[in-house]
């Protein structure tokens, strides 16, 4: 997972508003930022009593901190009747294009907001902003995934209205984002037919975590060796109950099924 890719420096994470001056935080802090998470990194006072050459039982899940922050997000979202959907994929599968079209075509019924995750740039947030939806960009720096704390900070900056639909576009990566619960209502994995139909078995954790798999760019099927049946079969061997929708953001084919899936999630 992300142990191999150099991510994890949380101090490098920036939450940015497209169109606003970059608030780089290299100044002193005359103003107060909300800061309500528990500071559980402080050494336990009991540690002072630890004697030398001693085995200490710890028995703690490594993802426990993220999972507890994700539960906090889940509670906050439920309280505000906000449905959050986490989109994950490799880079270039068409997540942002899917969101642009979805906001333009299906955004009328509910307010749609977006949190964009990328290592660098405001490119995706600018594209979403052009659709009229409220958007926040989280730049993870070296980080290869969004975690629950980044989502919390993104939501704090975005302040999505009650009852809205919140899309979270994760950092393009089929590996690490699978491990990190954000508190979302649904995980969507997007795979485009140009990537190859072998991806579910190559990246099993991601496809096992998905609630929905979107097979995108099906307008290109005549030009590539992508076996939709094989992709679906392999995905279901990892995740028997997963929903699968084939579509083309470009041509519009299959989008109706995607909108139907969102409607069911929102209810």
């Amino acid at each position: 997972m992300c142990v191999t890719c150099g991510c994890g420096d949380s101090t490098a994470v920036r939450v940015r508003i497209p169109g606003a001056p970059d608030h780089s935080h290299d100044h002193d802090h005359p103003h107060d930022h909300p800061h309500d998470h528990p500071h559980d990194a402080a050494p336990d006072p009991a540690a002072a009593t630890v004697t030398k050459s001693k085995t200490i039982d710890i028995e703690q899940e490594l993802l426990a901190k993220n999972d507890s922050l994700a539960e906090g997000n889940r509670g906050w979202l439920a309280e505000h009747r906000i449905t959050a959907i986490n989109l994950m994929s490799s880079p270039g599968s068409g997540k942002t294009s899917l969101l642009e079209r979805t906001i333009r075509e299906a955004g009328g019924e509910r307010t749609v907001c977006v949190i964009e995750g990328d290592q660098e740039t405001l490119f995706d947030a600018e594209r979403i902003r052009a659709t009229g939806a409220a958007v926040i960009q989280v730049n993870t720096g070296a980080g290869c995934h969004l975690d629950a704390d980044m989502l919390r900070r993104g939501m704090e900056a975005l302040n999505p209205p009650d009852g809205s639909l919140l899309f979270v576009e994760n950092v393009g990566n089929l590996v690490c984002p699978a491990l990190f619960d954000l508190g979302e209502a649904g995980k969507v994995v997007v795979i485009s037919v140009t990537e190859g139909d072998d991806k579910p078995l190559k990246y099993p954790h991601m496809f096992a975590a998905a609630d929905l798999i979107v097979i995108n760019k099906i307008d290109l099927l005549p030009y590539v060796d992508f076996d939709v049946d094989r992709c679906q079969r392999d995905a279901r061997s990892l995740n028997p109950d997963v929903d699968i929708v084939s579509l083309s953001v470009k041509s519009g084919a299959g989008l109706k099924s995607w909108y139907e899936w969102i409607k069911v999630k929102v209810k």
């Binding site: 142990v3 150099g6 001693k54 085995t55 490594l62």
Partner: protein, 106 residues
């Protein structure tokens, strides 16, 4: 790397600035985490912490699943949910562990 960082966070929360000589981890075969990568990152990340130079002892529990169809438990070598009896109605019961078990401080 953020997973390896969380090893250090979890340990130092308990042991403060005491020097840690050994860390026992449990990384299941189905957890999605590669122990060798954790070892590699650990050396780098632990360098400036009380865990610098600590030995990593990694237990790797096998993946186990229970078949709801035939009732058998069987080893699951990957995430393909298929019982030898042919049923795909199986539940993973072990192998996804990702935890710090214990540490030895000096």
């Amino acid at each position: 790397m953020s997973i390896t960082q969380s090893v250090i966070d979890v340990v130092t929360k308990r042991t403060g600035s005491d020097r840690v000589a050994k860390v026992h981890l449990r990384i299941g075969k189905l957890s999605g985490i590669v122990p060798d990568s954790v070892r590699f990152c650990f050396e780098l990340i632990a360098a400036d912490s009380p865990l610098a130079g600590a030995v990593l002892v990694i237990e790797e529990p096998l993946g186990l699943a229970h078949c709801r169809e035939c009732g058998e438990d069987f080893e699951l070598r990957d995430l393909i949910l298929l019982c030898p009896c042919g049923s795909a109605d199986v539940a993973v019961v072990a192998g996804t562990e990702l935890a710090v078990k214990s540490v030895e401080v000096v």
